[in-house]
Subunit: 227 residues, 2 copies
Amino acid sequence: MNIHSTKTSPTQTETGSKRELIIHATIKLISEYGFHGTPISMIAQEAGVGAGTIYRYFKDKDTLVLEIFTQVNCDFKQTLLHGYDANQAIRDRFIHLCRGIFLYGIQNPYEFKFIEQFYNSPYGTSLRREKLFCNCGDTGQALPLEQVFAAGQAQQVIKELPLAALIALAIGPIIFLVKDSIAGLIQLDEATINNTLAACWDAIQQKTGPNRQPVVTPSSLSSEEKP
Amino acid sequence: MNIHSTKTSPTQTETGSKRELIIHATIKLISEYGFHGTPISMIAQEAGVGAGTIYRYFKDKDTLVLEIFTQVNCDFKQTLLHGYDANQAIRDRFIHLCRGIFLYGIQNPYEFKFIEQFYNSPYGTSLRREKLFCNCGDTGQALPLEQVFAAGQAQQVIKELPLAALIALAIGPIIFLVKDSIAGLIQLDEATINNTLAACWDAIQQKTGPNRQPVVTPSSLSSEEKP
DNA sequence: TCAAGCGGAATGAACATTCATTCCACAAAA
DNA sequence: TTTTGTGGAATGAATGTTCATTCCGCTTGA
């Protein structure tokens, strides 16, 4: 990063860049092959360093991945909050956060898949409880998207569904679409993104007008049945 | 599956049961730890058979997993079609298929996660193009959910979005919620399922009334911008 | 007695991690 | 300016472990 800096340590530039090389190689490979699917040797080769070098920067493979995840996940959440204004209308805040996921995924496909891999691993399942939008590790306050949902429900603009269901309706489609986009199955243009975001809003929005099936209270669900 | 059939091979029952044990152990373990994360030895132990026995039934690990996936995926799709009536209204057909995914996931958590694991592996990425709802491997006709979308768009009851986006809006939330349910993060009761299904419909439904933001045509999308 | 099914030790390949060695940038000495 | 010495960074062969797959002897039913 910096060429000067005579104080810190010698050859800092070189040193820092090696670490970065390792990190980027790890993200790229693990996002594609998963933790157990990418040997250290492969990471070393992709990074263009010796295998032993990796252990100068990270205690072991577990630590390497955990450390990277922490950083990437944190960056991701920071990105989402960039430009976020808690005073905007519910819908605007919702769209802002969701669009952030879209854009992040498109612009950082490796990081996006890396995070996904992690959350779907036994590792991540334990962390899962804290969910995608947990604070970056410090402040204990409620998380942006949850705040939006809570505020929206208070204003009766968002459906009375369990939090988990709202989250699923909001980001499930986005994660799904971004994965398809990364896989090259679809070309996401601005219009498609905007329309999909609007559709996500439609999913969680509390309808006001008539011609609306009321939200169901516990009852009626057999495997199949014709009314 | 079948206990009778005296012709095929001797001790079919016993033989079949070992094979089943291996299959179930594989599904369970791989759904949790992934392909590379579950050694053959672990499968053997979980199944209560010798490691060598597995190779009496399957050529190698790859074949084992591929064969199981083919079968499980097929069963899954069969399940979805059970009770499906192509003459019903668009919405009913949509709900039927989506509810099927819900129920399958809740009733077959290991199989559900196994399928997920597979689709998210390098393996699955190639198969990905044929997507969740491809026919079971024979008939070349269009797939149920796609038919529903096509028909729905023709009747102007479903939004004009790319197929991939519609699929994402429909099953993204369901997959997300089922995962959370399996992880024990939420207890899915009938009401939540029904309401979530209704919300998925809201997401893809073409609005008729006024007070509706029109679908966007290509333009307008900067990282952030206030109207 | 024989054949087929089976378990699990045996085998070699692949892996994570370590370590003795080399390399390199800089600084003091000449 | 050139030489030499030094410490930390980098390396990749060596090590011990784990894995997929094979092999062999035991059991069981015919």
